[in-house]
């Protein structure tokens, strides 16, 4: 099916961007990895730039729909929802680390490319709205006590996650992913007026 081929090409491009860096990705290698011809790659994407940008966006669409999906346990407590949100936003080994690497590539790309900027701003906007939506029920029910709005708290959470996460991703010896999680949870717990332990998913 044609739709599958396009998706396979985008997935292959994501893998190669993450492993080799965006500047070293070649169409021929993407085609080989996707079990497609270069002609088919060009059929879907007229330029290399277009393929790379679509691949970055694809990774966020996919990651977003998987991770930002409703949590069946969310009703238990708003703190549990925030704990899960922190968890899915950290550069944990595996697919989240891959997505993080692409995220960093997208930041840099979006700064330089005016065409990509609105798309990146839109992705950031969705990320923000999702996080604010996770926090808001706790503010409404009184489970969280904060003078800040859900929007401000989401800005804060995302800033801490990005700033601590990028350091863990780059293997800063003073902050691994465990420490990044702890740093975000403690700071956010202070803002929300809850115990830091309540923002950790138990069993991890």
């Amino acid at each position: 099916m044609p739709g599958d081929a396009r998706e396979r090409i985008l997935e292959a491009a994501c893998d190669l961007i993450a492993s080799d860096g965006i500047d070293d990705v070649r169409i021929a290698r993407v085609a080989t990895r996707a079990r497609a011809s270069t002609a088919l790659v060009h059929h879907y994407f007229s330029t290399r730039e277009e393929l790379l940008e679509q691949a970055l966006l694809h990774s966020f669409e996919t990651a977003g729909s998987e991770r930002f999906a409703e949590d069946p346990d969310a009703e238990q407590s708003a703190a549990r929802g925030v704990a899960r949100a922190i968890e899915v936003c950290l550069p944990l080994p595996g697919s989240q680390e891959r997505d993080w690497t692409l995220w960093v590539e997208l930041w840099l790309r979006a700064v330089r490319d005016p065409a990509l900027r609105p798309l990146a701003a839109d992705l950031y906007g969705r990320y923000h709205d999702w996080f604010a939506g996770v926090i808001a029920p706790g503010l409404e029910s009184g489970e969280f006590t904060s003078e800040r709005s859900a929007d401000e708290l989401a800005d804060l959470a995302i800033a801490l996650l990005d700033g601590a996460g990028v350091r863990a991703l780059i293997r800063d010896p003073r902050i691994d992913v465990e420490r990044a999680r702890e740093l975000v949870a403690v700071r956010l717990a202070g803002e929300l007026g809850v115990e830091p332990g309540s923002l950790r998913i138990s069993g991890r």
């Binding site: 960093v104 840099l108 950031y124 804060l156 995302i158 780059i170």
Partner: protein, 215 residues
């Protein structure tokens, strides 16, 4: 004595400043040595005399840009009364310089290149060290509450500033430089259990000017 002609000692800082400009505009991958040479008003061999590769040029250009940022701050920091004012100036100066493009370039390259990772680490350690130094001084003087190790507070503040700067750089309308500064100030005041004194009239006039220019 260096065998290099005297003139090159003047050239090097110019080359690094030119490289920082070109790389910020286009990225390392799209930057040719010839572009840097042209910007600096010299030839490609004149650049290659000093730098083996574009990565080395990026590493040194970024280090030089950070050095200039530090130097521009040092004088102002020395004129500050105490650690509270110094921290406030560090935060306000970060909001002034909210274009993080070169940092993002370094993050991206640090993912795969050990030398770039080491450069990033060194610059980040220096920045966090400066914050921790003032936190420690304030705690020792009893101006700040002892809410935790200075290194930890520095890590939180540095992470927060990077994350906010990222949102500002990517053009999130909700996180303009002034909001970035205010949010960072509120959080650090919470962590220090103390309000950071406002800058002197002269300094705040300067900050206002810089923020307006930056918008």
């Amino acid at each position: 004595m260096s065998p290099r002609p005297q003139i090159d000692h003047i050239r090097r800082p110019q080359l690094l400043a030119a490289a920082a400009e070109v790389i910020a505009e286009r990225g390392v991958a799209a930057t040719r040595i010839a572009d840097v040479a042209e910007r600096a008003g010299t030839s490609a061999p004149g650049v290659l005399y000093w730098f083996d590769s574009k990565d080395q040029l990026l590493a040194e250009a970024l280090t030089a840009a950070e050095d200039r940022f530090d130097e521009s701050l040092t004088g102002r920091l020395e004129a500050m009364g105490g650690p509270g004012e110094r921290l406030r100036l560090l935060i306000e100066a970060s909001a002034e310089n909210y274009d993080w493009t070169l940092w993002m370039e370094l993050w991206t390259r640090a993912l795969r290149d050990p030398r770039m990772r080491a450069t990033r680490q060194r610059l980040d350690d220096r920045w966090r060290g400066q914050i921790a130094h003032d936190v420690r001084a304030g705690q020792a003087a009893g101006a700040f509450a002892d809410h935790g190790p200075p290194e930890r507070i520095a890590l939180i503040l540095a992470s927060l500033l990077d994350g906010l700067a990222l949102q500002a750089t990517l053009g999130d309308p909700q996180v303009a430089p002034a909001q970035m500064r205010d949010l960072a100030l509120e959080i650090v005041e919470l962590l220090l259990g103390s309000e950071l004194p406002p800058l002197s009239d002269q300094e705040s006039a300067r900050e206002r000017e810089m923020l307006v220019e930056g918008e």
